[in-house]
């Protein structure tokens, strides 16, 4: 009886751990799929698309997650096959300097203008 109890507890524990792990994988899969562009659809992520291309990518991502690939490894694999365009979140490189740095530059210049205006007003 005691052995049966131990087995039952162990079984439940493994079941819960498995469920937790599946849930974790699903969250990661959804996160990755939402960040991948469907290359044959207009303005849709792979997550939202039902195209043949998107369903193949979904299968690949699922397979890679199940075999223990990290998020970065999956993005790197897709980048190698299709280029930077497939990822919604582009890497900082010579083609994306303006994209990354312009908002920061505008924010800083806006801040500087505001700071100057406020200090002039305070001096008056």
């Amino acid at each position: 009886m005691k052995t049966l109890k131990i087995f039952l507890i162990l079984f439940l524990f493994i079941g819960v751990a498995q469920l937790k792990s599946n849930e974790k994988n699903d969250i990661l899969q959804n996160k990755i799929l939402k960040n991948i562009r469907c290359l044959i659809c207009q303005g849709q992520s792979v997550h939202d698309s039902e195209s043949d291309f998107a369903s193949s990518i979904k299968l690949i991502v699922e397979k890679k997650i199940n075999t223990g690939s990290s998020e970065k490894q999956i993005y790197d694999f897709l980048r190698e096959k299709y280029g930077d365009w497939i990822i919604y979140d582009p890497k900082l490189n010579k083609n994306t300097y303006v994209l990354w740095l312009l908002p920061l530059l505008l924010f800083l210049s806006g801040g500087a203008i505001m700071y100057k205006k406020i200090s002039i007003k305070n001096n008056e």
Partner: protein, 173 residues
């Protein structure tokens, strides 16, 4: 003076924005893949179309010749258009054609081959499209030229034309 300077800054900023948006108007908003990147062929295992036996990619590309990998499906209309050209290319002994049957029904695919002829030395089954992704393809038809170093040296998106066949033959020679 200060007013003029502000106007100049605003003018430069607006011109910059205009230039970016104008450039964006002219560039394509659809995916345009790079077709000249030298990439290694993927390592995979796939089912043979005729025997249903799993084969390693190393065995498929073992000969020291050029290979053409063509992704096709019986439901794909442009594939019918390019098929006679593939038949023509298959007569060239310096190249081996490998077909990748993409997300297809096996009976329809067999009927397609029986009706239009078989240009392929080997046909592989890609039921879920994962093999096509390994090659970096995103639809059908798509054709890859692989050199003797087993590198993908050219990628042709869409149906191949007579001009493309000539281009392939020129590279092979």
């Amino acid at each position: 003076m200060k007013n003029k300077f502000t106007i100049l800054i605003v003018f430069i900023f607006l011109s910059f924005c205009f230039a970016i948006f104008y450039k964006g108007l002219n560039s394509s908003n659809t995916y345009t893949p790079k077709t000249h990147d030298k990439k290694n062929i993927p390592i995979f295992r796939a089912k043979d179309f005729n025997s249903n036996i799993n084969i390693d990619s190393k065995k498929i590309f073992e000969e020291n010749i050029f290979y053409v990998v063509n992704i096709w499906a019986s439901w794909c209309v442009p594939c019918r258009k390019e098929h006679p050209l593939l038949m023509e290319l298959s007569k060239n002994k310096s190249v081996k054609l490998i077909g990748l049957n993409y997300r297809d029904n096996s009976i329809n695919a067999k009927n397609f081959i029986n009706e239009f002829g078989n240009p392929y030395a080997q046909i592989l089954i890609d039921n879920d499209g994962m093999l096509a992704v390994e090659f970096g393809a995103y639809g059908v038809p798509e054709t890859f030229l692989i050199d003797k170093d087993k590198k993908i040296i050219q990628k042709f998106v869409g149906p191949i034309s007579q001009q493309i066949v000539k281009e392939i033959e020129l590279i092979i020679e």
